[in-house]
Symmetry: C2
Subunit: 457 residues, 2 copies
């Protein structure tokens, strides 16, 4: 192959610096998941197609990457579909496996398959790549990581309280202060639908209401009317057009508005419990806010709905989301398993930290010192020191070849290695090392202890 | 879907305990890779098919998982192959992407694609899954992780010295003492082939010689004769049938045997340099041994060849391997890039550590304490302590529901949580906690400081 190699569109190579930064984020998410009692599981990259197909809607089915059967796959292909050249229908007979589309369906499959080994409530986290045959665009990839924490087997609202705290803790540890954790509740949305007397118009309603900041009250109302929501209905929920105040005040406004809806009032109670506890226990740096237009995955969630917005100084969509779903495992035959979970958007968090320069300098640090190679005798002397330094957990390396010193310094420079260690005849005789600070240019003569101390600091 | 869900054959779900153990191994490998100056990269799970196909031989091509093109893939399918139902030939026209088969070819592709951004010598490590449509069997999976460290862009033999040290360091950190790092050199094998006058019989020769322990000298010679190796040739390498002694003694025997082969003597010199340096710098727990039958990936390696064997107390194949290859990136058009690398066999290392019970108990530890849930007031009091304990990096959790205490204790027991914390009216009044050691059954009354100290220890 003579042409320059490339990778499939929508996929990425990660350089050492990028991997280090990604690992930094993942490590903070992981350690906090564990501190909150979540345990890791991992599932295979591909599942049987029947496990995935039909779980994400028609669009989802199309976006799932299918794996071609091995061997003489055409021998089992459906002849009728083959002759008709019907790609969609043929697929099932030439492909039995498909790449994971998200972590939730494999998790549900895992819970059902391993139910006898699991202690419920089961708090699991999972950080693995998923694949979608989506059209690639800025910030949207065909391979990307999801970072999910879910509890299954308990309806306790303390879980929601803890998940809000978990978001707060992770973003605080990442130094990303001032994120907004938006909360809503599916039952409140149902209550609103009841009050406006048009549950089929609920999405149109929330989409329009969400534009309040942009197009103003008149604009929103105009759009609602155009979508077929009655004037009378709009009047009933007039308070939502001036929905300000503290979160408690907002909840009390909702309590009045939804008084006639049993379902809506249940949502108000749930919201009140969660918000009260979160507020009394206090968040470190995040802000909890009620957003009645929040409706992500409406058909999926049954209780709390979460979404995290980056600080307003950065233009970025949501950097996390989640909620409660009352029937996670029903699709695989295990009924009445309530679950609640949240997810972190790794790629977007990366972009936000990068833009705000929040990655600590130490994250991308390569080796602490490069031992210059002056020949095999000197290299051997250097290797004795290198061995001891590595045993003391200090990252050091020997330039492998005895080439011009300038080239070796250039290598250290490009790799951002802060120190060079030089050993020649003189150092070998006196059992010392010439330590050169590559930033200041300063050079000192040290014994091994001095070397180790300088590189440890 | 009513039937119990399952996963594709050859793949695995990993439970929390298994993930923790795997992460323990990976973390030790990773931290030592970094201590030795290797930097991480990651490549996409799938590559363009042309990047992978033809790089692993015909058998390899068959074992590569191909991804079906999205959308109406049949519209671009080759009609001729479609009508002939020729699966092998049709594949290229309905599949453009394929899952990574190993980490070496993607690494070579990465180096060529990013050559202008890379400082050479480039020391990279990569720990990612690979996929092979192999027949699954004990210890062989269709999805498994590879852990590779390679240096590209330097012919220095110090790299080989360091890679032997790296093996020694990782296995020492894993507590797996007494592994044997077998070393050989492709040039020595070439030298032997020259001496026996039959380079096409080299594999037959090494395979037969490898059976010396099992079938004895006569058996081996019989097999060699059957394979068409001349009696005279076998006599020339008679010393290999009594190839004992220290590694230095073995090297000197080889030096005599291969004196007539320039290539062979070059191999002897390389081997001598590596073994001398390793021996003078000393290994911690591993044993370096010369094995002239070691020939893995013969067509691939050009210099040193490595393989690591688990301690003899465990019946297990190789748990690591590697070597030098003089033309890693030539397949993608970048010539003269010498590389040398090693790989760790994660799955087998796991099995060895498990069998020898070398996983530290702390590896699988879940939460340190479970706070028993007696109702919302008590839970709120508990949450205040939980929050502070988590801030001190202690893993604790609240049982989410106010159910029978027995059930909560059972949960703690099954999860191997060592402590339960009980808070009732009395504790809330006196601002204390009842701390129950679930192993000894002992229960004490402590204040928050006492609680934190008990859980920290």
């Amino acid at each position: 192959m003579a042409s320059k190699p490339s990778i499939p569109k929508g996929t990425r190579d990660f350089s050492p610096t990028e991997v280090a930064k990604r690992q930094y984020i993942i490590q903070i998410i992981k350690s906090n998941f564990e501190k909150f009692g979540f345990q890791p599981i991992e599932t295979p990259s591909f599942e049987n197609s029947e496990t995935l197909m039909g779980k994400y809607g028609e669009e989802g089915d199309r976006l799932i990457f299918k794996i071609l059967n091995s061997g003489d796959y055409l021998s089992k292909a459906n002849s009728e579909f083959l002759e008709a050249k019907d790609s969609t229908k043929l697929t099932a007979s030439i492909s039995e496996k498909a790449l994971r589309y998200d972590l939730t369906v494999p998790f549900a499959r895992y819970v059902v398959q391993h139910q006898s080994e699991i202690e419920f409530p089961f708090k699991r986290y999972q950080i693995q790549p998923v694949w979608r045959a989506d059209r690639p665009q800025k910030g949207r990839f065909r391979e990307f990581f999801q970072c999910d924490a879910d509890v299954v087997g308990s309806k306790s609202l303390w879980q929601e309280v803890e998940l809000v705290q978990l978001y707060d803790t992770v973003f605080t540890h990442l130094g990303l202060n001032g994120v907004t954790i938006k909360i809503n509740n599916r039952k409140i949305l149902s209550g609103i639908a009841e009050v406006i007397g048009a549950s089929d118009k609920l999405i149109d309603f929330t989409v329009a209401l969400d534009k309040l900041d942009k197009i103003g009250e008149d604009g929103v109302k105009k759009e609602m009317l155009e979508k077929g929501i009655a004037e009378e209905a709009i009047q009933k929920v007039q308070p939502l057009f001036n929905f300000t105040g503290t979160i408690s005040e907002k909840i009390e406004k909702l309590a009045q508005l939804l008084a006639s809806s049993a379902e809506g009032m249940k949502g108000v109670d749930e919201l009140r419990f969660i918000c009260d506890k979160v507020s009394e226990l206090e968040l470190k740096t995040a802000i909890l806010d009620l957003d009645v237009t929040l409706a992500r995955g409406l058909n999926y969630y049954t209780g709390a709905i979460f979404e995290v917005a980056a600080p307003k100084t950065v233009a970025m969509g949501s950097i996390g989301g989640g909620g409660r779903y009352d029937d996670l495992t029903g699709i695989f035959g295990l009924k009445n398993m309530s679950g609640v979970g949240i997810s972190f958007g790794l790629d977007r968090i990366y972009l936000v930290l990068d833009e705000l320069q929040l990655f600590p300098e130490t994250v991308t640090a390569s080796s602490k010192a490069l031992f210059v190679n002056y020949g095999d005798n000197e290299a051997f002397y250097a290797m004795k020191a290198i061995q001891k330094l590595r045993a003391a957990n200090i990252k050091v390396e020997l330039y492998p070849d005895n080439v011009k010193v300038g080239k070796q310094f250039q290598y250290a420079d490009k790799r951002n290695i802060p120190f060079a260690v030089l050993v020649g005849d003189q150092e070998m005789k006196s059992n010392t090392y010439a330590l050169k600070n590559l930033v200041s240019g300063e050079q000192t003569e040290v014994d091994f202890e001095g070397l180790q101390n300088a590189l440890l600091s």
